[in-house]
Assembly symmetry: C2
Homo-oligomer: 120 residues x 2
DNA sequence: TTGAATCGCTTTGAAATGTCAAGTAGTATA
DNA sequence: TATACTACTTGACATTTCAAAGCGATTCAA
């Protein structure tokens, strides 16, 4: 066993948590409130979303700004560290566009469906 | 609702499955057998690993080559689509190295070697 | 020759994680 | 007045992941 710290491993560990990449992607479009974000992400239930956001704030990727408690009004926005995750999204985008595009014809829909791409 | 096909969303959906990025990263170092891969990934139990690999094969990211059934000998290797995921790993690597390094003090541990850094 | 280790998994039952529906208090809109 | 919106929380339920054991067969070390 090596006790060496590995940033990539850490990063993968946290990026692979369910909804994290979707949340970041939504926030790249701009700051949002909780429900707005929930809708943008699509399909993540509030309990999970709240927990994920807490974690993202902890890690320093998202900033939470409570504008007023009652009526409730909160804004979640990416920190610089969060914004720089855009490079990761871009890489995923490039990969996806190249290797997943053919799926469009088979009737796949943005949201929940199964991915089954053929390799070259 | 958009019925438009969204490759990025699809890609995120599958990349966020637990262990997927770790598996891809391990396979970037070269083809491996099941147990070897399991060790390289570190911490993924065989049931999950088997299921994940099936899915990766389905999607066309990994190629499974059964060399002999008994004694068992199997090789998992990345397809071209899989190899091109290296760009994603590289992006994560870049981000992690920049924003996660300070975490070292908190005692994080890494199991595998750094692949992507060399290609930078 | 016996015993241990390795291979690629599968099976088990329990634990962790994620999801769902409903509900909270207060404001704004219809 | 009635409904919808805000940001969440709660508790019950469903799904996913877990560690451990085991499988038949072969290879290797004692």
């Amino acid at each position: 066993m090596d006790n060496e710290f590995c940033p990539v491993h850490e990063a993968i560990q946290f990026l692979q948590e369910k909804w994290v990449l979707h949340i970041v992607r939504s926030l790249l479009e701009g700051p949002r409130g909780f429900n707005d974000l929930s809708r943008a992400v699509g399909g993540c239930n509030p309990a999970t979303l709240a927990q994920r956001l807490d974690r993202l704030v902890d890690i320093g990727v998202v900033d939470k700004e409570v504008q007023s408690v009652m009526p409730p009004r909160t804004l979640y926005r990416l920190t610089p560290a969060g914004q720089s995750l855009q490079q990761v999204i871009i890489a995923i985008d490039a990969w996806a566009t190249r290797y997943l595009r053919q799926e469009a014809d088979r009737g796949a829909v943005c949201g929940t469906k199964d991915v089954a791409a053929e390799s070259l």
